[in-house]
Assembly symmetry: C2
Homo-oligomer: 405 residues x 2
């Protein structure tokens, strides 16, 4: 008997039929002798419907009240699933953030979980009840409703699993696991049966959409084994493990990519770290996150900087830099929005040389120019012209991951 | 400066446009220098939409989970109204039952309020915030979400008004006050500017739908002045007062009616109160409420009983009696569903004789037979054939309430 947390996303509970299917799946797990705690998202479309109501009143509605509004989405799905499980003859109880005691900070719309109390959940488990918890939401210390932002329900599930020391946190979604790359781009992409936590962290941060980076971080922090699997076609999915010795034999585990990056160039800045410092402060003060950074030193002590930012922040970033151009002593400020990032990730890179060479060869063979490069112990990322993205993904997948590659 | 509780029903907040209109109305009251606490129903149609979702899963869904589900309706409307008021430059905060601390018993779907804590509301008022409270809902002592059933939001408003010692509890609805009778039946019906609490209690219990009996009872228990008025066309409405000296000059204040009653006859029962006792226990054990009771004593010590029950309980009541016919020693059990109750209510009846005579004369002139009669100090009710109901209402309205009547 194991203690399992099962999280179902919006498409998994997107209709009454889907909720019935999830009820069957939960009951089946229970009947196999496991204890089950379920964490749910809102039915797909519901959160957008609610946000649309709010926007009709105010294009920038009160963030506290927006959280009160959209947290109803999960309240609806948990009550409906509880009804469906009770109808199947099992004890179930829906629980909201205040009933479980999920404490967050007070950053409405993007709150972080500070603590999940295990008491109530343990009580329900001891009484053989299936607890069905509204994900994506919490309460701050004053009792205000908060929501966790993107990937929030995954994070809820992981934090809950950590609190009750679950044996596994299963993330049910609309794909059946983590793939070597996006199958819509590379039809030869394969599901990995296992991936290490470190690799998953890189893949998620580099654009693989199956798990949100915050939930992977939380899993890492709490040492919670994660499994990604499909609620439409339940199989073994992909296990995200902490066991280094479970490392796959391939040097590279997956190819990730991200279309949402834009390039910003600040050229001809005098040497001295104070200028870079000023640029970074300007971004930080305005909540703009920088991903890749590159620095090219010229003769005559001039330096060119290149940054990538999220496409949502692109225009604001350019505007801010242009306003401060004189103060930054920059000769030229320019941007290029039509770029994309492609990355290869693998624990094997640590111990295998020649990976970078193979990586750049694969791109060179397709005449793909590299604008920026960024590396870590277990990944290589490059920024390229967006129109070559699919080609680059397929070339790298073939080089590292296809059976005859 | 007064402290006013304003309650808005489902049609009053039935669309974004209506919520904007309510925001204007609340802000106007605030700008007149009053302190305002708002209590809201769900947007009209929303509760039914949610119940329909539940019924797709289970025709008799878990009552605990049904309350979790339908309480989201009020959560949506309070957050949207708070946004609309904040957009207008005023401080507002939506509050749910657990945030206000509205304690109820644990009768899901028909819970009764045990206590409303004033602390949080006073705190918000002291900080000049307009508190917008989700009506219709509470929490039981274990923290489970409960709902109050029919007329629940009116009851929430009255209990909240009592807790904070409001000067007036304003019930905004889709009609502009309490009428002498239903204007859809008698076009000459007039809005009363004032009605006593005792009269309103009778009118509500006799079928006037504008206020639910439980909210009127709560107002009476806590001595809360109520005002019924329209959110579509705000005017002075109808004040429900406790002042006997404000008694209207008319002997009869209003004509109420109820189509939902059915007649049940138990004939030829031996004399002795034990048989009536058995019948009443049978009803009570099955949760069937009796409205009117009549007893006719015959020679040879046989007694005929007549009762009225709600049409929802009619078939079950007949079935239960038929099963126990032998045990009740009844010669015959029969029913008549096509009956209706019409009543005249007025404080003036206490001091005026001849009201009953005028009442029965008005019916007799239209050849309307009376099946059952029931009276109190301030009302006369009769059960008649349903098809004569409109005729009876108009005849009584003419006799007591038309200017030339």
């Amino acid at each position: 008997m194991a203690l399992i947390v099962q999280k179902f996303g919006g498409t998994s509970v997107g209709s009454i039929e889907r909720i019935e299917a999830v009820a069957d799946l939960v009951v089946k797990t229970r009947q196999q002798g496991h204890q089950v705690v379920v964490v749910l998202s809102a039915m797909s479309g519901e959160t957008n419907r609610l946000i649309n109501l709010a926007k009709q009143i105010d294009t920038r509605p009160s963030s506290r009240e927006l959280d009160v509004l959209i947290s109803t989405g999960e309240q609806v799905s948990v009550s409906l699933l509880a009804m469906a499980i009770i109808k199947r003859g099992h004890s179930a109880v829906s629980l909201l953030a205040d009933q479980v005691n999920i404490l967050t900070d007070n950053m409405f719309g993007k709150a972080r979980i500070a603590e999940v109390a295990a008491t109530r959940l343990k009580h329900e488990l001891e009484h053989n009840r299936i607890a069905i918890i509204a994900g994506f939401q919490g309460r701050d210390i004053e009792g205000n409703i908060t929501t966790l932002g993107r990937g929030g329900t995954d994070t809820s599930a992981v934090e809950i699993a950590a609190a009750i020391k679950a044996d596994e946190c299963q993330i049910y979604t609309d794909v059946d696991g983590v793939y070597t790359t996006d199958p819509r781009v590379e039809p030869n992409a394969r599901r990995m049966s296992q991936v290490t936590f470190a690799e998953m962290l890189e893949l998620a941060s580099l654009g693989a959409k199956v798990l949100h980076i915050r939930s992977v971080e939380a899993a890492g922090r709490h040492n919670v084994p994660l499994r990604v699997l499909s609620s439409f076609n339940p199989d073994e999915g992909t296990l995200i493990s902490f066991e280094e010795n479970d490392m796959p034999s391939k040097v590279v585990s997956g190819i990730a990519f991200n279309r949402d990056e834009c390039l910003i160039k600040v050229d001809g800045v005098p040497s001295g770290t104070q200028y870079l410092s000023k640029i970074l402060k300007l971004f930080a003060d305005n909540g703009i996150e920088i991903d890749m950074i590159n620095q090219v030193n010229h003769i005559f002590e001039k330096i060119d900087y290149a940054f990538t930012v999220h496409s949502n922040d692109y225009l604001q970033a350019l505007e801010l830099l242009s306003e401060d151009q004189a103060q930054l002593s920059a000769q030229n400020i320019s941007g290029l929005p039509t770029v994309a990032k492609v990355s290869a990730v693998g624990m094997g890179m640590k111990s295998h040389s020649g990976v970078a060479s193979l990586f750049f060869d694969a791109l060179a063979q397709e005449n793909i120019n590299v604008v920026l490069v960024s590396t870590s112990e277990i990944k290589i990322s490059v920024l390229i012209d967006e129109k070559y993205l699919e080609l680059a993904v397929r070339a790298l997948h073939k080089a590292f991951l296809t059976e005859n590659g």
